[in-house]
């Protein structure tokens, strides 16, 4: 046991890396899919053991109260998605959309992506964090293009170009942070170690740090799908395999957000630098309002939920931009709930698209009659994502709206406008998809129930009861975020 606690960080990183290596060598997709699940499960268990204890921060690895939430969430959704993926790809093989060779590649890339994201969350070095996010991005670019249709290639290309520009901005921002730290901390690895940076941040050159943050916000904001630079997100979600849509929305956006939060904490220590709050509030509100209105014109079901992800990222960035214990708490809760709910929705949508043979909303109607299980799961998922009580997202949105009304009533009006518009759009679509006259194919489809129920169950429980331990912990992190 003590060995595990000393090495759990190493395990979280080595298990996906080794699994990826084995998966590249292994033919036969059935075994690969199982191995993918096993690897993801082991990573999740290793991540859980972080609660029991973890090594102290060193120059390379850092586990603190902030990233432990992200890591456990990341590995959990990674595991459930691998379960979903197993049944999903079986169907894709039958219909001939994917070949066994591509599946081998797909599974290996899945683990490479998990490795990249776990590394990004665990490292204590802003340069390595950048590299890890880039690795995860490249892996997802390849997976988005895996169907090799016109649309998939266009989506992958767009994603690649925009993500590269974003990642380039983020690197430039990272270099600027290093330059700001150089006179205070000295040359070398120290000036990129996050814990060292945090302790000395108050002495950094404020103007350099301010410019750096703008680049970092734009760069990582591209990956988080914030609005002026969101264009890749709907395409990538719609055209890639659905398990990838689930991890993109549920995980990769969070990882980018995590990077922004780390730098925001750095900025908060330096009082002479620009305050990151107003920038994040503006970006968040623009994303929320834009995506909320865009939801109305969507004809493709995966695109619909991709825009809903932009909307939620907007809400979360807005919450962290507001800052203060209550808004930060709401942001963290919203982030967790959105990850769980949105990936569950994508699991359901993946099965629906396979059952109907189409992603067009016009072709998908009356699901509660033709496929009751999928239909009702979708109803619960959409109600949750739209913020209906008593589900988890209602709680975080309620917290956020109340605290905003107290502190900045004008902003709260905009926030509520965005939430209401999005709510209307989602319910409008849900109505025809779930309760219209059944259309198209009604053949039953093999559904992997466990991931869907696990996610929606957690969201429902969180809506009515948050364990005091979790609350206490979120509160602690909220104060840490400032």
């Amino acid at each position: 046991m003590s060995w595990l606690l000393g090495h759990n960080v190493a395990l979280i990183l080595t298990i996906p890396a080794v699994t990826a290596l084995v998966l590249t060598l292994l033919p036969g997709y059935r075994l690969s899919a199982k191995l993918n699940v096993a690897g993801s499960l082991l990573t999740f268990l290793a991540a859980l053991s972080l609660f029991a204890g973890h090594p102290p921060a060193d120059p390379f690895v850092l586990v603190d109260d902030l990233n432990i939430v992200f890591i456990v969430l990341n590995t959990f959704v990674g595991f459930t998605t691998s379960l979903f993926s197993m049944s999903y790809i079986g169907h894709e093989l039958e219909t001939g959309r994917l070949t066994p060779t591509y599946l081998r590649f797909y599974h290996a890339m899945y683990q490479v992506m998990m490795f990249g994201m776990n590394l990004a969350l665990l490292v204590n070095n802003i340069g390595l964090m950048w590299a890890a996010i880039e690795l995860a991005t490249l892996a997802t670019v390849l997976m988005v293009g895996i169907y090799r249709t016109h649309e998939a290639l266009e989506a992958a290309w767009k994603y690649f170009i925009l993500a590269s520009v974003g990642i380039a901005f983020a690197l430039f921002g990272t270099i600027l942070v290093y330059m700001a730290a150089l006179p205070v901390v000295g040359e070398g690895l120290k000036a990129m170690t996050w814990t060292v940076l945090l302790s000395k941040a108050s002495e950094f050159e404020p103007s350099l740090l301010s410019v750096a943050f703008i680049f970092l916000l734009l760069g990582y904001g591209t990956k988080a799908g914030l609005v002026p630079v969101h264009a890749w997100l709907p395409d990538a979600h719609a055209e890639g395999p659905t398990p990838i849509s689930a991890v993109l929305s549920g995980l990769l956006l969070n990882v980018a957000l995590y990077a922004i939060l780390r730098f925001k904490m750095l900025m908060a220590r330096n009082h002479a630098a620009i305050s990151p709050g107003p920038l994040m509030i503006a970006l968040g509100l623009v994303s929320l309002l834009f995506a909320a209105f865009m939801l109305y014109r969507r004809r493709d079901i995966k695109r619909l939920f991709a825009y809903s992800s932009i909307e939620h990222m907007g809400i979360i960035v807005f919450a962290f931009g507001m800052g203060g214990p209550l808004a930060n708490f709401a942001g963290l809760l919203q982030m967790t709930m959105h990850s769980l709910t949105k990936s569950a929705i994508f699991f359901v949508v993946g099965h629906i698209a396979q059952a109907k043979g189409s992603q067009k909303i016009a072709d998908i109607q009356g699901l509660t009659q033709s496929h009751p299980l999928l239909g009702w799961s979708l109803v619960v998922g959409v109600l949750a994502i739209a913020g209906m009580p008593p589900l988890g997202i209602f709680m975080s949105e309620f917290l956020l709206v109340t605290t905003t009304f107290v502190r900045a009533p004008l902003l709260a009006v905009l926030l509520v406008l965005g939430l209401t518009v999005a709510f209307g759009a989602l319910l409008l679509r849900l109505q025809s998809v779930a309760f219209g006259m059944p259309q198209g194919k009604v053949a039953p489809v093999r559904v992997s129930v466990l991931p869907i129920f696990a996610h929606l169950g957690l969201v429902a429980i969180a809506g009515v009861y948050l364990s005091p331990m979790l609350v206490h912990w979120f509160q602690h992190v909220s104060i840490m975020l400032g």
């Binding site: 070095n125 340069g127 390595l128 950048w130 590299a131 880039e134 490249l138 670019v141 390849l142 293009g145 090799r148 249709t149 016109h150 649309e151 290639l153 266009e154 989506a155 992958a156 290309w157 690649f160 170009i161 590269s164 520009v165 380039a168 690197l171 430039f172 990272t174 270099i175 600027l176 290093y178 330059m179 150089l182 006179p183 040359e187 070398g188 690895l189 000036a191 990129m192 050159e205 103007s207 350099l208 301010s210 410019v211 709907p234 395409d235 719609a238 055209e239 014109r297 969507r298 004809r299 493709d300 695109r303 067009k360």
Partner: protein
């Protein structure tokens, strides 16, 4: 140390910005690739000079990679690919040369103003270096925005990446990242060349991205 060391570094970084401008108005793929090779060569000189004045031997590796991979291997490979694909015709640019050049000048002005102001506290060399690097990055972005052709977008991206390496090389004693960014730029180039272009070529008769734009997912 200042005097000549600073002047040469300044000159080389300035040249890199100038070559970026040259790339802006190349309307043929061949000449764009040749200009890119020149860009990478100037980057090699610039990074090698930084390695010499900072007495940082690992930067020579970065410089070597810039010369071998970026100035020779990648342009040659892209040359061959262009011939194979039969697209050595003119590049259609979205905006005309005039407005593009004006926009480029605006971006260079912007990056000088921003960086010289923001990095006022840093030492002179680092400040100038950052300003030029940002200019190269923004010009690379402009190249990507004004081109529709997949190959020239990749070239634009690689020139943007050169700007990042210029910035990283100018940051004294920066660990890991120089090697990493080089490794990544190679990786990206390979991914793009190997997978995307071949797949695009396989599925489309053209590598003109406008052909891809026709397949907007929202259209029914």
């Amino acid at each position: 140390m200042h005097g000549i060391a600073f002047d040469v570094a300044h000159l080389l970084a300035g040249c890199l910005v100038l070559v970026s401008f040259l790339m802006l108005y190349q309307d043929r793929l061949y000449s764009l690739l040749n200009t890119y090779a020149l860009h990478a060569t100037v980057l090699f000189l610039s990074v090698a000079w930084q390695a010499y004045i900072q007495n940082a031997p690992d930067l020579y590796v970065t410089a070597g990679i810039a010369l071998v991979f970026k100035a020779i291997i990648i342009p040659v490979a892209l040359h061959r690919m262009i011939v194979k694909l039969g697209i050595h015709r003119e590049i259609e640019t979205v905006v005309g040369t005039g407005p593009t050049m004006l926009a480029g000048m605006g971006l260079v002005g912007l990056s000088l103003v921003v960086m010289l102001h923001a990095a006022a506290g840093a030492n002179l060399m680092a400040r100038e270096d950052l300003a030029f690097a940002l200019a190269v990055i923004l010009l690379g972005l402009l190249i990507m925005v004004t081109r529709r052709n997949a190959v020239s977008q990749v070239v634009g991206f690689m020139s943007l990446e050169n700007g990042l390496i210029l910035a990283a090389a100018g940051a004294k004693g920066m660990p890991l990242v120089v090697e990493m960014s080089v490794a990544f730029s190679i990786l990206i180039a390979f991914i793009v060349i190997g997978i995307f272009l071949f797949r695009i070529r396989e599925r489309f008769d053209t590598v003109d991205l406008q052909a891809l734009d026709r397949f907007r997912g929202e259209r029914q």
